[in-house]
């Protein structure tokens, strides 16, 4: 279980304030919210890459507030994927295992298994720069998942994919979550991602959480309106086209 309590992070003129956010073990939480409201700062704080001035972060019962990133057991897939360009796909995925001292033979086996699960086994000897965006995204996901993190942080992981790849990635994420049962915090601007993937939806605005609820519950709130507005416009265009 991940718990964020009384978190306060001031950066420049911006303040992030999270009174309480809990992600149960195995839960898939999708975080929505307009641009610049602190979603990425929250993700970085949980990963230990930003130092909040106040508050506590509990990871599986351990107070991780003062732990450096390498001791939190949290894995990150940033929007840019941030693959290691000077390593093969195999070495990218194996990196976390190598640091954990996993023996060579087991390492190979675990890399092979996760690569097969994500359909990238044929790419293992390639360099990241030779991969398509969708392939890079899956490598980043494999690199994060192979270490069996206590929490998987995904910061707009699908936003630079074309619609077909995004739909594929959505299904893949859902399948992976079903099979591996990891705990996830997934930041996105897409209502479709939220509804398809989330056990729970959180919505942020102005540096604070406005609501944490079920996907269905979220649709009832006023925060869902801008997201539904987009769909309404599509429907309207279709109606006008038909009439």
């Amino acid at each position: 279980m991940i718990a964020v309590e009384g978190l306060e992070l001031r950066l420049g003129g911006f303040t992030l304030r999270i009174d309480r956010l809990v992600i149960e073990r195995g839960e898939y939480l999708v975080l929505l919210g307009p641009s610049g409201v602190g979603k990425t700062l929250l993700v970085l704080s949980i990963a230990g890459l930003m130092r909040p001035q106040r508050g506590r972060i509990l990871i599986d019962g351990v107070d991780a507030t003062r732990l450096p990133p390498e001791r939190r057991g949290v894995a990150l897939v940033p929007q840019s994927y941030a693959l290691f360009p000077h390593m093969s796909v195999r070495d990218n995925i194996a990196y976390g295992l190598r640091l954990r001292g996993v023996p060579e033979r087991e390492r190979r086996e675990r890399v092979r298994r996760i690569a097969e699960l994500l359909g990238i086994a044929h790419l293992l000897d390639r360099r990241p720069s030779t991969l398509s965006g969708g392939e890079q995204q899956r490598v980043a996901l494999a690199r994060a998942l192979v270490v069996k993190p206590r929490l998987l942080l995904l910061d707009e992981p699908l936003s630079s994919l074309d619609p077909a790849s995004r739909a594929n990635a959505l299904q893949l994420l859902k399948k992976l979550h079903g099979e591996l049962g990891f705990t996830a915090l997934h930041v996105t601007h897409s209502l479709a991602e939220a509804l398809y993937l989330a056990d729970k939806v959180a919505y942020m605005e102005g540096g604070v959480l406005r609501c944490v609820c079920t996907p269905r519950g979220f649709l009832e709130t006023r925060y869902a309106r801008p997201y539904l507005e987009e769909h309404r416009l599509v429907e309207e265009a279709l109606r006008e086209d038909g009439g």
């Binding site: 940033p78 941030a82 290691f84 640091l99």
Partner: protein
Amino acid sequence: MSPVERVEASLVLLYAASSLLVLFLLIPLVSLYLRLSPEAMARVFGSPVLASQVRDALATSLAASVASTLLLLVLGVPLAYVLARREFPGKGLVEAVVDLPFVMPHAVAGIMLLTAYGSRGLLGPLLQRAGLRIEDSFLGVVAVMAFVSAPLLVDTVKAGIASIDPMVEAVARTLGAGPVRAFLDVTLPMAWRHVAAGALLAWARGLSEVGALLVVAYYPKTLNILILEYLQVYGLPYAVAVSAAYAALAAAVFIALRRLLPP
């Protein structure tokens, strides 16, 4: 005049200005080798005394510039990292201090070093107690070279690190790497071209220094100092003979640099 003609007229100007500068830069290189007299060559490199002077001076130049570059790598890469990645109060001031040697006239740089680390300088007594002395010593040559070439190394490496997505290192951290490990595994390999280019630039800059050396450490003589001495004592042909050899070495460095520099 039609617009097209006007464009052509300005093109002529453009090419004229460009070729003038290129020629101005190229002619000295050609003339150096035209002036090279086999006789003077034979007299310099045939004489056991002079040849060994040149050999010693070259050894001093190479050893000191390599030592200075290694020193700058050890101290300058971490500094470049801090400047590229961290924000802190007074950062602008630190950056100004790092770039200072760049704008200092060379003689002034030498005087500054003397007042700071010379035996009668600010930290002279302290250094003396440690048995260190910069006046007319190999250490002094290294100090001078490191001083004048530090900005080149730090700025080049800083630009390289700044161009790397910080999230790459961040991901390495979350996967279990401590800060040093993440730097060595990820940032350094990604910035190696800039590190190599910075080191080569710093090396070449150290090798070419003469002004501050005249002030701080005339001895042990570097090749630059020896060339000046030959010019004064034996005349131009001798200076040309040594310079021609040195220019060839410098050109080799330059070619290596061009191949390493990021396109």
